[in-house]
Each structure stands twice: as structure tokens, then as C-alpha cells.
Symmetry: C2
DNA sequence: GCCCAATGTAGACGTCGCCAACAATGCTGT
DNA sequence: ACAGCATTGTTGGCGACGTCTACATTGGGC
């Protein structure tokens, strides 16, 4: 029985997606602290308990958000990777894409690296991370085969490069430096990683 | 008038310190999400509104916690720094101390790098950070004077080294790698930073 | 066309951060 | 010594939140 005239249908249609979309927007505009399931439900026009049908608890929604973040990051990196380029500009392009993502989505990045996810979600995270660092790892291994990079344990190399990029992204997202300064420093960062701090 | 026999004194003595200590313990044992002002008040044996006399809101307590974290980190780094050492082992020692701190206090480190602090607290943070990266910066500038490091913009160099260390710390604190693996990888990390990935 | 699983609703419970009004305490100036 | 006052703690309450349970509505598969 419909009390109100012209009321929306009892079922939302795709509440899960609507909640995720709203959460993403709130995350971008007001930060993770401002995320509330009840508020998201209000925005979606459903009752305060409806989100519980799609996410077992708030953390589950955050995990889903982080997971979709990994997807977007992976797509951004793959789009930015040009295998035809020589090693250094290729890495620079990747680094720039990563930093751009970090600068555009600082709170999302924080969520992605948070260590509060259910074991199940954490597994999905791990594979998502593997996909990304695996990409970097393959580039490095290939460069090793071409003799462009020293023959050390490729995991160590990947870890170091990934750490430098991620640290830069964290610093940048922290807002100490402005966007342009960070992005224009990428060339030097990659150069330093490749050539080292010691004179040659 | 004392209703209860043998009740505690009306005033706590040093509630502020007790709250911070309790918060630090909870942070270590159960994470920042489990931090509640009311719970801290209970542990300290005071009423639920008492913390409000010492911290204007919850964020103020978190900021104080972060600030004390910077203090401890700075002390740990200074204790670990041996200026008599050659550059590479000296940096390795510092890196190891930083990673140890990150592994021991992952949630605290996250708090320290959070970008949610009041302008006033953010200022104190900034100077605390300056103190630490300034230390690193001086080491690098000195090495430059000795010709041990290329003559590039020292800020760029410091940023890169700091980013690499911080990224490694974040990865480590994230719990993907176990403590021993991380700490034993420090030598390689510093070596790579100094000598670069390209063959010499 | 019926039945059941999926989805949404209504209400309640306990916890939380924060605020205001009030009570106890200890410091300071005289 | 002691009055007055700022500091510190208490009590009670407000609104918001996450989560649970019981119930309502819907739509797809037998």
C-alpha cells in the first residue's frame, strides 16, 4: 500500500552502487571522517538500515571503496604506461600518473593502504596490490634483461622503487608541497633512483 | 563532602598525562579506531566529561599524541645517528631506526602523518617534521661538501631519501612483509639509493 | 500463480562526542 | 588566615552513529 502519492518504488534498483558512488563523493569532498552509513542512506533516499543489506558493516563499505580505488589506480597506471619508451621516461610517466592519483584522491589512497580490512577483503587487496607492483616488477625485470639495471634481486629493486614512489605520494598527499612542485620534481626523483646519489 | 568512604581525591593530580598514557597504550594495543574519550576517562577513574577539561575535543588529544610521537621519533633518530660513521652505514643506521619505529608504532605513525590537525597543532607538527628532515638534510649537505654526493638541489635529495624511507616504513607498517625481512632489507635499500639502479 | 529469497522499513539499544549547569579544590593576594 | 576566583571534576542530557531484530514489500524461479 502506497501512503504517499508518487513515492519512489519500494526497491531502489541498485542501492549498492548508489551507496558506493555517494561514499566516493563524500570521501573526496569531506574526507573519510565525514562518512556515515545513515547519511549515505539519506542521500540515497532509503532507510537508515538499508545499507546493512549490502555491506555487513561500515568497514565492509570502506573495503569496497578501497578495492574500487585499486581498480582505478591500476587503470590509470596502465593507461600511462608506454612500453615503447626508454626506461627512464617510461618510469617517469608511471611515477607521474601515480602521484597524480595520490594528489587527486588522498583520502582514498589512505583507505587503500589502511590495515583494517577483513581477512577476506585483505586478500582481494593483496591481489590488487600484486597486480600493480607486479606491473612495475615486470618493467624492472625486463630492464634487467636489457642490461639497463643492475642484476640484484628484482624484488628488492621493485620494493625500493615502489617505496620511493609511495613515500613521495604520501608526502605529496599530505599537502606539505603544492601539486605543481611535486609533479615537476618527478623527473629528478626518477633520475636519482636510477643514477643514485653518489657521483659517477 | 565525601559520600563514599576511602574514595579517590576529587582531583586526579595529572589527568592530562594519564589520558595521554592510556591513549598511547590503547593506540598500540587496539588501534586508533578503539580510542574513545569516555573509555579513557573510565580507565583513569574520572567522569566521562573530565577529558574535556584537558583536550578541547578528541582531535586535540590525537594531535597531542602525534606530537609526542614526533618527539620520540626524533630522540630515536638522534640516538641512532653516529656522525663518526661513513655516509652509507650512517644512513643505514638511521633508516633502520626509522623502520623500527614504524614497525613498533604503525598506528602512531599514521596519526603523525594524518592531515586532520587544527591549524595550531599543524604548526607544531610542521616544526617537528622540520626538525627531523632537517637532521637528514644536514647529513646530506655535509656529504655533498665532502664530495660524497652529487651536487644537486639538496632539498630534492632530501625529499627523495625521505620519501624512500617513508615509503618503506609505510609498506612495512602495513604488515605485508615481516619485521625481519624489512629490517634486513635496509642495507640494500640504502645501497640502491646511493648507487642507483643503473649499472656503473 | 505461489513461494521464497532478496531487499527495504521501523524501532530499539548501547556507545559516542560534546555541551551546560553545578560542585569541589587549591592558589593568590591581602 | 581567609576570601575570591580560576581550575578541575561531576552529572545529566542531546543528537548522531553503527548495529541488531522483527516485520513489510517485492520480484524471480519452480
Amino acid at each position: 500500500m502506497n501512503h504517499m502519492s508518487a513515492s519512489r518504488p519500494y526497491h531502489h534498483g541498485d542501492l549498492r552502487a548508489a551507496l558506493l558512488a555517494g561514499a566516493e563523493r563524500t570521501l573526496l569532498e569531506k574526507g573519510v571522517a565525514a562518512l556515515s552509513l545513515r547519511e549515505l542512506a539519506r542521500e540515497a533516499g532509503v532507510s537508515h538500515a538499508a545499507p546493512g543489506r549490502h555491506f555487513k558493516d561500515k568497514q565492509a563499505l570502506l573495503s569496497a571503496l578501497a578495492l574500487s580505488g585499486y581498480d582505478r589506480l591500476a587503470r590509470a597506471l596502465e593507461a600511462a604506461d608506454d612500453p615503447a619508451l626508454p626506461l627512464q621516461p617510461r618510469l617517469t610517466g608511471l611515477a607521474r600518473a601515480y602521484l597524480r592519483f595520490a594528489l587527486d584522491n588522498p583520502e582514498l589512497l589512505e583507505l587503500m593502504y589502511a590495515r583494517k580490512h577483513d581477512p577476506e577483503a585483505a586478500d582481494l587487496m593483496a591481489t590488487a596490490v600484486d597486480r600493480t607492483v607486479g606491473h612495475l616488477g615486470r618493467i624492472i625485470a625486463e630492464a634487467q634483461r636489457h642490461g639497463e639495471i643492475i642484476e640484484a634481486d628484482p624484488h628488492h629493486l621493485t620494493f625500493t622503487v615502489g617505496a620511493a614512489l609511495h613515500g613521495a605520494a604520501t608526502f605529496s598527499a599530505g599537502g606539505v608541497l603544492d601539486r605543481e612542485t611535486v609533479l615537476s620534481g618527478v623527473d629528478d626523483l626518477v633520475h636519482l633512483l636510477l643514477h643514485g646519489l653518489k657521483p659517477r
